[in-house]
Chain length 351, copies 2
């Protein structure tokens, strides 16, 4: 197989483009695709400050890398979720990448700031892990961006991610999620920054190839909580269809943007954002979903601590104490609750 550009030995075939590239021309192709996405969709300019949501995986590190190479003002944001060894390793990879590129990385530590890791937050608030995680990430991305004056949050969602989420939303016709699925979600409130997906033209294996060819050391494992997730099933189905008919994922997602999204525009009309009574972040209700989740979790944890520590007995048994909460301390719900977000939580939750 020969490179479409130079006729040298190709390193990667891209069937949906009916093309193949050697390593240098693939890297060029990749950068051009990202630049085109940014420009065509008016995601941001070279003057804008871009906050890149970094998970330590191939997509987000490839995105950050290519934005830096294209001379965008890209700062990383890593959220430490406290998912055991997975989180430790992904943080280490993110920090190492930032250092190797001399780039700024903001780290938010969920257990440290909210007294619970994401699994405890989920359990104590009655949510499934991926829902609590997605809600937390969306909230924190937005809050950090607003507080620190970024113009836009960029996430590493690739074509495979978008097509799989879309497939799920179409299979169950979740119209309120379909409305929110786009490469650019414009700001609808002064404290709600624009969200963009500059890799929406890039397939998953292309992001992996880019990361490998650029020598990026990324975490290969998927989040342990994502095992058995619906999105993986949708990816499997789409991979089967793509293998038989290259371009299927692209035609699904791009066709949706062209033919379906304009017809959904009216759905969001009349949605008014107001300030969350507890944290002031924009929300559709009185109290935002993040406040509700963290407050509920804090209350439940406090009740457990009280049960475990009756009258003036000794410190509570180790296993009832949530990670990050000093044993025996009373937990101030306000300190835990902190900050919320108001939009409905979608399945579109990856950083």
């Amino acid at each position: 197989m020969k490179c479409t550009i130079c006729r040298g030995q190709a390193a990667l075939e891209i069937r949906r483009h009916n093309a193949a590239f050697c390593a240098p021309h693939f890297l060029e192709f990749f950068e051009r695709q990202v630049e085109r996405a940014v420009r065509d969709q008016k995601m941001f300019t070279h003057e804008n400050r871009v906050l890149v949501a970094v998970s330590g995986g191939k997509d987000s590190l490839a995105l950050w890398d290519v934005l830096l190479r294209l001379n965008y003002r890209a700062t990383g944001l890593y959220i430490h979720l406290g998912i055991g060894a997975y989180s430790e390793e992904s943080r280490a990879k993110s920090v190492a990448f930032a250092q190797s590129r001399g780039a700024d990385l903001i780290v938010v530590d969920l257990p440290q700031e909210h007294g619970m890791n994401v699994e405890e937050l989920a359990r104590n608030s009655g949510r499934v892990s991926c829902s609590a995680c997605g809600l937390s990430k969306r909230y924190i991305f937005n809050k950090v961006a607003v507080d620190q004056g970024f113009d836009v949050v960029a996430t590493g969602h690739n074509l495979d991610d978008e097509a799989a989420v879309l497939m799920g939303n179409l299979l169950h016709w979740q119209v309120e999620y379909l409305v929110r699925q786009a490469p650019v979600l414009p700001s609808t409130h002064p404290r709600m920054v624009r969200k963009v997906k500059p890799l929406y033209r890039i397939a998953e294996r292309e992001a992996a190839a880019y990361a490998v060819l650029r020598g990026i050391d990324y975490i290969v494992e998927e989040c342990p909580n994502s095992l058995g997730a619906r999105s993986l099933l949708y990816k499997e189905a789409l991979n089967m269809l793509e293998a038989q008919s290259p371009g299927t994922k692209q035609s699904l997602y791009w066709g949706f943007l062209e033919h379906m999204r304009p017809r959904l525009a009216a759905v969001q009309e009349g949605v008014t954002l107001r300030d969350c009574l507890h944290c002031g972040q924009p929300t559709t209700g009185e109290v935002c979903a993040f406040c509700k989740m963290t407050e509920r979790a804090a209350a439940r944890m406090r009740a457990r601590l009280v049960r475990a520590q009756p009258a003036s007995s000794g410190p509570p048994p180790e296993e009832t104490v949530a990670a990050g909460v000093p044993a025996g301390d009373a937990v101030d719900p306000a300190a835990i609750a902190g900050e919320p977000i108001g939009l409905p939580s979608g399945p579109d939750d990856r950083a």
Copy 2:
């Protein structure tokens, strides 16, 4: 596994309904589902004359059977397409079923009436087989219904068929086909009868189970031309998703009808049907697609016959003569062309 109704031994589990049935209660369930489809969607009444498109397969024979049991005025229409042994066997099954039920069956013989079987028609008109076949069937179903005073054409498309076609149309966002996908396509012209799909609530395996339990002798083989068809690939993908999450096909199709179709309604506004200049059937263009196809095929076949029979030589070599056309005869294109239909040909072509 026990029957949900009588707690006897269940013969069939229906996971999307969270139910299981013994044979008698399954047959009852099946009839109820069909009756509900007919009634809820206002497909037809007991006064209407229903033309059932019969292929000899499980779906169309099950449909015909259940409509007769429910005392609808259901006449069968079998189109002999001339696809070798497959067509011979499917005709035999259809005729035998009609005889066993004392029901009326109309048989239209494509090679006899149009001088070519469906594969020759496809080859000579530059269409793929399934496209020529679908167009011919839609044309003939409608023409026979109009000419013989039927109120409605009913086809045996089941939930799996509809979900697979929908999946294909969504993957490639074929909006003009999406508009036409519904359990009921109302008549939009005095010579265009209503088309209905009373099995749209029934899964493929349920139609097969019904046919087996009722002792219907149907043709098990799929049409040989359908091997490798896209629709089978979509069915495979949907089966994978359904296995993991029962109800997926139903939620895909029903959700589409609820959430998407109303948004597409405007697409067909402004489409004007007029009379085909050649055959008078309703069409969107000047000459309908069926006329164009049959005339083009006839012209090409005539040209071949002329080439094979120069000046006053003997009869043409056997292999250049299309089946059904008497060797050496001049072919009158008007006799072949006959009758057309105007709507765009969709992937939704099964009888």
